[in-house]
Chain length 198, copies 2
DNA sequence: CGTCTATTTGAATGTACTCAAAAGCGGTGG
DNA sequence: CCACCGCTTTTGAGTACATTCAAATAGACG
């Protein structure tokens, strides 16, 4: 398989710790490149999550749909993000959220058997994964704090500041569902923000 | 050291996987029992979290104080819970929340050096910890979903159903800060719940 | 018993929501 | 190239839920 296509992934791993060429090659051998068209689903809420995947290009979102049909976007995933509900992936329980492409995207996916084999056999990967799990936990705790203590306007301003690209790239109603408000409310918030500026 | 005092902890570990007597004894040797009086702090927000600890008895809460001085209770910790901000513990960054006893409590604490030594030297502990980290991540993700998609009333009813002991044991204003509402609002919600019942 | 804290209640305010409709924008086919 | 369609965003009006400020009541503890 052409190794060139995995150059982003290689850099992503090396950010945490060094991977030997063999280790990296061994890891990429478990991956299957998959192309997703805009709006296509990578996995569906309530179905088992059979794959985890690395986002090589494009953009996706993970979102939970409640029993009223309202959607809550848990995160947006760009290049170097990993997607899939790990809980479902590991334990076979129904996935708690859907993952859907917001743009045409390319991901590299792995199924459970191969993933666990890689964890067993590739110490570099095992180490990376351990660090990753810890960081994910920290991030999700931080996100819980933010979500509970910041107003919608504060969250939006923070997003504008920390991730202006997201606001550029993603339709506003998805941003609203990320902020956990209705599109109408985000529109009004934007109005007050921009009127304050003048 | 008297091993009898660690019987809860032993059972707690064994729920995940078997510990040999040596492994368990080795682990308990890194622990220091600490008694906390009601209202006493185990660690303070913005200071480094120097210890992680297991709750052997009593009850504590972890809470974040925002810049307006409002408190948000992230979780209550009873017997078998672990407390401390792991992010701060590992990386030395300021702790993102405080941990305070709500009742007189006994905890077993470990500092970073000993904790990491234990992870290196006791495979049973390392395995337990890996499972624990994964579960914590899953729980915190689930909590994020709930916090964003359920109304305060739903959350309170759920708490009444799933953890009636918490509602019994813990003053109402702490419950309110856990639900992320003001004590006045919880009081009103309770009023409507109880009036519906009759 | 008195003091301190927790809880309840009242009234006014604020933020986001619902329902409804208009305006804006992007892509497609004639 | 433009007209049309579908989807997104904005705007309006009325409503719901939680908040703030304020005060009264209830409970806990020395």
């Amino acid at each position: 398989m052409n190794q060139q296509q995995f150059s982003n992934l290689r850099m992503h791993f090396e950010e945490t710790d060094h991977f030997s060429d063999e280790a990296f090659k061994k890891f990429t051998s478990i991956l299957t490149p998959v192309v997703l068209k805009k709006k296509e689903f990578f996995n569906m809420q309530n179905e088992q999550c059979r794959y985890l995947a690395y986002v090589n290009s494009g953009c996706l979102r993970a979102f939970y749909t409640d029993n009223k049909g309202d959607e809550f976007t848990m995160y947006f995933a760009f290049q170097n993000w990993w997607i899939g509900d790990k809980t479902s992936f590991y334990s076979g329980t129904p996935s708690r959220f859907s993952v859907q492409a917001l743009e045409d995207a390319e991901v590299f996916r792995a199924d459970k058997t191969k993933w666990e084999k890689a964890l067993d056999e590739i110490p570099e990967f095992e180490k990376w994964y351990r660090v990753k799990t810890r960081k994910s936990y920290e991030a999700s705790q931080q996100k819980l704090i933010s979500s509970q203590t910041e107003s919608a306007e504060e969250k939006y301003l923070k997003l504008l500041k920390n991730a202006p690209d997201i606001v550029q790239r993603i339709p506003q109603h998805y941003i609203a569902s990320y902020l956990n408000i209705k599109p109408q409310s985000l529109s009004r918030i934007r109005k007050t923000i921009f009127s304050k500026k003048h």
